[in-house]
């Protein structure tokens, strides 16, 4: 299976990328790791006439951690994130091993995944839970945007034809006691999520929830942030009773569609189970750090 014919460019600088984007506009697609775009092109679901391979832009493949947060280059591969150690952001390492399979993770990038904007993608859910924003650059300007605004619709982002997603920025969590879980239901290894739930919780010294993030995969037409459930958690003591209450709330959020992976009702039910399970594990983990 071959993609339709296209012209291929492998620019070495962002300036060259902007030049090519100015020339070709929306006829061009940006190629990062290619693990979503190339399969779509082979199936002829996508047929761009120009591919701009940004794989040589080395400055986009590393991360910088500061007191304010973590700034990740868009070309960081899933595998690199899986094997990196950022203790303030445990959700990243929780999520990465669930993406596709090890071979795809060696090649696919975090920025490529976000720009593809699949509602079932694992990074979408996790980075919404983390309150991430994206840095978008073009020849004329650099803009920052909350990830939630970046996801416009199914496979559709706020990127303009002249723009490139360059970095993903995660704010530092409210407290050092930050715990995370990513729970995913998949039919087989490497499949898209039937439902995915990303949870990050930062606790105060007395066990009160200082900050909570819950992101969901395949629970809406875009990656979805369960704000109502997050707000039920904040300021309250994490207890089994509270966990029960918020998991019920979580199952009512989002707008899942019935498809061949499961009915909407089943997906809601699994979202409830995952929120309950994830928060219970986090509570247990916190309790064990207290008794230690």
């Amino acid at each position: 299976m071959f993609p339709s014919a296209f012209e291929y460019y492998a620019p070495k600088t962002l300036d060259e990328v902007y030049g090519l984007l100015a020339q070709y506009g929306d006829e061009a697609k940006i190629l990062a790791g290619g693990q979503s775009l190339l399969p779509m092109m082979k199936l002829r679901l996508a047929a761009p006439s120009v591919l701009i391979d940004i794989g040589s832009l080395g400055q986009l493949s590393s991360a910088t951690e500061t007191a304010e947060g973590l700034s990740m280059g868009a070309l960081m591969r899933h595998k690199t994130i899986e094997t990196s150690h950022w203790p303030h952001y445990p959700l990243l390492r929780e999520t990465a091993p669930w993406i596709a399979d090890p071979l795809v993770r060696n090649r696919g990038t975090i920025g490529g995944s976000l720009a593809h904007a699949d509602p079932a993608a694992d990074w979408g859910a996790a980075l919404l839970a983390l309150g991430a924003s994206v840095q978008i650059e073009s020849r004329d300007r650099i803009r920052h945007m909350a990830l939630e605004e970046f996801f416009v619709d199914l496979y559709t982002t706020a990127l303009e034809p002249q723009e490139v997603l360059t970095r993903i920025v995660i704010p530092v969590p409210a407290t050092a006691a930050t715990f995370a879980r990513y729970l995913k239901l998949e039919r087989k290894v490497g499949d898209f999520a039937v439902v995915g739930v990303a949870i990050t919780v930062s606790l105060a010294i007395d066990g009160t929830v200082a900050q909570a993030g819950i992101g969901m995969a395949a629970m809406s037409g875009v990656p979805f942030a369960a704000h109502q459930t997050e707000s039920l958690l904040v300021g309250r003591q994490l207890t089994p009773a509270l966990i029960k209450e918020v998991s019920e709330s979580a199952s009512q959020e989002g707008d899942p569609e019935s498809d061949r992976r499961g009915s909407a009702e089943y997906k809601r039910s699994m979202a409830r189970v995952f929120v309950e399970r994830g928060l219970s594990q986090i509570l247990q983990q916190w309790e064990s750090t207290q008794s230690a």
Partner: protein, 168 residues
Amino acid sequence: MESRKEDARRMVSVTINGEMRQGLAEPRTLLAYFIRETLGLTGTHVGCDTTSCGACTVLFDGEPVKSCTVLAVQADQHQIDTVEGLETDNVLHPLQQAFWDNHGLQCGFCTPGMLMTSVALLQKNPHPTESEIRHGISGNLCRCTGYVNIVKAITDASHKMQKEPAEV
């Protein structure tokens, strides 16, 4: 592509199994086909051609990837290793020998991909647990063996390679 006025093919140079090779490829040519048809190394198999089965796994700068989901032009100036590079002087790589000894293949179609994934796995993690092996090969499908003997073979090779460290 007769209708296209200019020849869209370009020269792609790779270091494959330690040897510098080049060939012409259209931008849309996938690395798996470039390796098989242009460079004539047919040990790399194309199975599903949809990024699922891993039969086409090769090492790209040392990392196992699905070569049906990489463009040949992306591999220009990079290092590729395929199953043909595993044996040295007619002696099988310890992993190949272990697959043989443990009946780690039946039809053999997935084997080149399984081997390349396993080579990289043992380089990163010379003493994997069964669970680590199973997760490590989760991108490679086998429809014959049920995986039991593949896992056994990789475990066996990991023991033997500790005794006599091998190349690649």
